[in-house]
Every structure is written in C-alpha cells, then in structure tokens.
C-alpha cells in the first residue's frame, strides 16, 4: 500500500511515517504543500492521503477540493489543529474521509488510519 503525506512540517511527516512504519506501510511519498502534492499525483496513485490543513502555497482544504475533481475515492485523512475543529463540516463536504486533531498520540493516528481504510474497503 502506498501512502502520501502532505505536510509542510518535516517533523510531522517523520512522526506520521513512524506510525505508518509500525503499521507495516513503508511505501511513503511526501509533499510539503498542496501544489507539490498535485504535481506528484499526476504520476502517482497512492492508496491513502494524509493532508495537513495549514500549509503555505495551497492549504489542505484547497488541495482536497482540487484533488476530488479528478479522484472521488482515494481516502483522505485531514490532520488539523484544534483551531480548525470548527471547520470539520466544510472539510467533509469537500471530500475528507476522516480527521485527526493535533496533538495526537501514535495510537490515535494508527486507529484513524485503520478505520479509514476499513471504511473505504467496506464501501
């Protein structure tokens, strides 16, 4: 399974990669903002996207809206801060499948990834 991490913070990508590695997912692509991710996605088809909300150039919500125009099914987990919690509905309407709010424990991120993949498989 291939996962794409879209986050401007290398730290957060490292933290997420560590959790993915523990789950056995080692094929990971990284992008530091929505624009870079869209460019990478022209030649790559990940099975899961983890997208940070707050990023320079193109934020997570704008990325999701753009991505969903061409891909309605690949599951997306949005990584948001408490500040964005109130905008969850807006993100769900844009096509986000699940959320994880920062700060999070490795267990919580792991749980979100597993439930998102399971829900997509059951659909």
């Amino acid at each position: 399974m291939k996962v794409m991490l879209i986050d401007d913070s290398r730290t957060m990508r490292e933290v997420q990669k560590s959790v993915l590695s523990q789950l056995g997912y080692t094929e990971v692509q990284e992008a530091s903002d929505g624009e870079e991710a869209l460019a990478l996605l022209e030649s790559s088809a990940p099975d899961l996207l983890l997208v940070d909300w707050r990023m320079p150039n193109m934020d997570g919500l704008s990325f999701v809206k753009a991505f969903r125009q061409s891909d309605a099914t690949t599951p997306i987990i949005m990584v948001a801060s408490e500040a964005e919690r109130a905008r969850v509905v807006e993100a769900v309407k844009a096509g986000v499948d699940n959320f994880v709010i920062k700060p999070f424990t490795p267990d919580l991120l792991s749980q979100r990834i597993q439930e998102t993949l399971a829900a997509r498989e059951a659909a």
Binding site: S9, R10, T11, M12, E14, V15, S18, R54, S81, E82, A83, E84, R85, K102, P103, F104, T105
Partner: protein, 168 residues
Amino acid sequence: MDIMRISPFIQGVEHVLETMLQLPVEVRDPRWLDAGAAAHGVSVVAELGGDCQGSVCLGFESETAERMVALLTGRESASDSPDCADALCELLEMVCGSARSWLPDLVVAASIPTSECGANPMTARALNGAPVVVIPCVTDCGPFQIELLLEDGAEVADRDERSACAGA
C-alpha cells in the same frame, strides 16, 4: 493582562507535550519578565491577534530543545538546525491551537511560529513597556519557559498612547 487568559496557554503546553512526547510538565510559579533577562538557547514565538493580542514564546536551553526534538522525531538534531526549529515551531502551533480551544468565547488568531537561536525575543517587548509573564516549566528533558504577552485592544491602545505622550 487578563490572568484568566494565561491558563489556556499553560494547559496547551501540558497537553501538547504530554500527548506528542509523553512528557509530563511541572509548572512553577509565574513571574514578570525582566527586560535584562538572559537569552535562551532556542526560542519559538507566535504573534497573537483578535481578542487576545500579544505574543507567546517558548524559550529552551539548547540541550532541552535537542532532547525534546529527539523524543518527538526519533532522531538527533542540533538546537540551531532547521529540523529543530521546524519541530519546536510545530509544537508551539499546536499549543496555540489547544489554547484557542480553551478560550471558546474569544476570537484568537495565531501567526505561524518563527524560531530564533541565542536570543530572547520577548525582552524587546518588555523593554517597550509591555508586561510579559514568565512561567518556568521543568521536564525530564530539562527546563524551559513559557513567556506570554497578552493584552486586549484597549490595553494596547492605552500603552501606545502613553508611549506617544512620552515621546512628544
């Protein structure tokens, strides 16, 4: 400064470090920042706006910063490296997000944090007459401190007016 607005930032620091690093924080008694305060090894600062104007800063000794970042990322990073700055800025961004959730009746905006080595970015604000409160914290990674300047719009206008009068 509204003292009630300080607690959410302390809670935010405790919540973020305990969740992301599994690192308990012991919070010590607050004090006012002395304008001649010693520099930090590394500082990260975010500007606050909206109903809560001011700045929030986390100031670390270099060794404390390096230990915390290693705990978060699982790799060693020098305190003056971009990776260390990225990790500490990310932690402060989460602290601001958490603090905002504990201030539900206020609109609090926070800028993207920036980092600085070998300085204390809050001393300039203290020199300018702004009240900066320091909350010393102790962890197994070493000590650090939260520095907060929180003012509402009326306090800022009042201080600006006093500064203008003093300069006239």
